[in-house]
Amino acid sequence: MRRALVALVRKDLKLFRSDKRAVIVSLVLPAALALMFGMIFGAERHEVHVKTRVVDLDGSAGSQRIAGALAADKMLGARPATRAEADDLLRHDDIDVAVVIPRGFVARAAQGDQPTIEILSNPTSVAETGIARGVVDGVVARAIAPDLGPEAARCAGAGEPYATTVKPVSSGDTTYDGGSHALAGMGVQFILIGAVDSAVGMLNERQRGLFRRLRTAPLARAVLIASRLISGALVALLVIAFLYAFGSFTMGVSIKGSQAGFALVAVGFALMASALGLFMATIGKTPQATRGIGIFVVLIATMLSGAWFPAFLFPEWMQKATLFVPTRWAVDGLDAMTWRGLPLADAVLPAAVLFLSALALAAWSTFRFRWEE
């Protein structure tokens, strides 16, 4: 009994050890994810940076002190911009907030008129906006203190000499829609999981000798790769269509921007995901190893896409690094065409990145896939 038990356990461990790639993935995957989570939530928090612009419409000495203080702040590091520039940057998700100092702000504050300082916020940057508001309140009070007269001091008894309002800015009247963003994020994640299944299925077909039969016909290997690419992309498009139809019915999600742009990004992502499945099939020797590698790739790609966490939690370098991750462009592109309500032109760059990624991955797979066991 004991010998049998030991022999059976030993057999399982031998089988596990025999698939070296699966072993490596089993060890590397949790370690890599722990490392990334550690970097996001761990000791580097002091590096959190709220991307800020300051729009000084006042132009007074006091407002310049405010702008200088916001620029000097470690978390904001605000750079000057015009109102139009700030609006454009916010609509394209390039900054988190813009602080607008209205014309005559300091003078009116000195007179006790309690003027309003406006914080224009990126609707996806909820936490960053909160941070920025706290910083602005402290900075402005100190910066304009020398300018405040007796009227202001009288008003100060009733409260601050100025008010702060937050105004979300996206395209037109649209505001952040968590449902739309969740659909983009979860859609990306589960379509990528489908790509892993496709890769595993491809290797199973190879194991079962099906490719031997298919390749006996006078067909180029590129045709066989293209057929997998197209079928995978069609399934991915079906998932996207279902998800957004479901979202429309249950959460009122709609495409507020360009429908053609949405279609362009969706097709680009569907092709990229399908090509990623082909790529995964080239790097795993066995279906088991490919599944392990695939899960690793999907988790990392989804996390870096911004589907799980707000981007401000990422270290600065990681925020830049994610621009090299195609899934980031997929989520951004789908967001742009749905709740952000941006035009077709704003779909071109995300779609181009996705199409080019699909092309590169498919080309790699055509040349590198091992058709024989």
Partner: protein, 314 residues
């Protein structure tokens, strides 16, 4: 000549899996490609079917060299792979429509071909059933049918009867005999000697990637010493250790080998004229026997005499 290979060589790293294999398959003929597991049969077949490129040598289909994945001459080849290369979740009919479409058959032509192929292998009444509901023998027959849709002149069968019940095996043999009768050339790889003996007009034997014999069965028999086998059922079975007289029997003139298992003594003779000497030897040692039989040399014996090991050895 439907198929001719000239000096095919394939290396995988330091291993030379196929080393100068040349063979010919005329129309209306079945050629048996025999060899133990690992002899290079499947690698040879893969090169002939255009699945892998030979490192040296060439494959000629109707006298013209086969080159590349998209070579139109591949339409003249039908491969029945060793694996059951079928989509289990699809019906037999759907499988055939898929594999036929790879050869760009028009819908009406594909329909006729699928009906004919299913009819030939006796699966017409199960055409709409999913393949996963089929028995192993039915899958093997469908595996054959899938290679026939585009009406290839040359059929390559890579161990097509592995794991098949006797009834399905007979059905496959009947199908192949009929196809050969229609003028198809057949290259049949197997390590079952009886299959090659039954189906093939000519036998090519490979071992360690090298052709060691290429002849008709009769030619192979004549080219080798007429080894004969004598089987003696002893009255008293040997229990445990081999009897003390066995080495003396092996030392007799004209005895190639002598083995004992239970009550059966199997002796390989140079010729049947040695039988009285063997029986006399047993009589002198008071070994009584209940039955004596002789049999002709088969391919197993021929292979043994050519290589020094049996066909079933890995």
């Amino acid at each position: 000549m439907l198929l001719e290979t000239r000096g095919l060589v394939k290396r995988f790293g330091k291993l030379t899996a196929v080393d100068g294999v040349s063979l010919r398959v005329p129309a209306g003929t079945c050629i048996g490609l025999l060899g133990p597991n690992g002899a290079g049969k499947t690698t040879t077949v893969s090169m002939i079917a255009g699945l892998i490129e030979p490192d040296e040598g060439e494959v000629l289909i109707d006298g013209a060299p086969l080159a590349g994945d998209t070579d139109e001459k591949k339409r003249r080849i039908g491969l029945v792979p060793q694996d059951l290369a079928l989509y289990d979740e699809m019906s037999a009919r759907d499988n055939l429509e898929l594999f036929g479409a790879l050869y760009d058959l028009a819908p009406a032509e594909l329909d006729r071909a699928a009906v004919a192929a299913l009819d030939l292998v006796g699966l017409s009444d199960r055409a709409r059933d999913r393949v996963k509901t089929y028995s192993g023998g039915m899958k093997r027959r469908l595996n054959l049918a899938a290679a026939l849709l585009h009406d290839p002149q040359l059929l390559i069968l890579d161990e097509p009867t592995v794991g098949v019940d006797p009834q399905s095996r007979s059905a496959i043999f009947a199908n192949l005999t009929e196809l050969r009768g229609r003028g198809k050339g057949i290259l049949y790889t197997t390590h079952y000697m009886e299959e090659a003996e039954r189906l093939c007009q000519r036998i090519v034997i490979v071992d360690h990637g090298v052709v060691i014999a290429d002849d008709t069965l009769r030619g192979l028999e004549q080219a080798r010493p007429p080894t004969r086998r004598l089987t003696v059922e002893l009255a008293a079975p040997a229990d445990g250790a081999p009897p003390a007289w066995l080495p003396d029997l092996r030392a007799l003139a004209g005895i190639e080998s002598a083995e004992i298992s239970g009550e059966t003594l199997a002796v390989t003779l140079v010729d049947l004229e040695r039988v009285p000497a063997v029986l006399g030897f047993l009589g002198e040692r008071r070994q009584r026997f209940t039955h004596v039989a002789t049999e002709r040399a088969d391919l197993e014996d021929i292979f043994l005499s050519l290589t020094g090991h049996t066909l079933r050895d890995p």
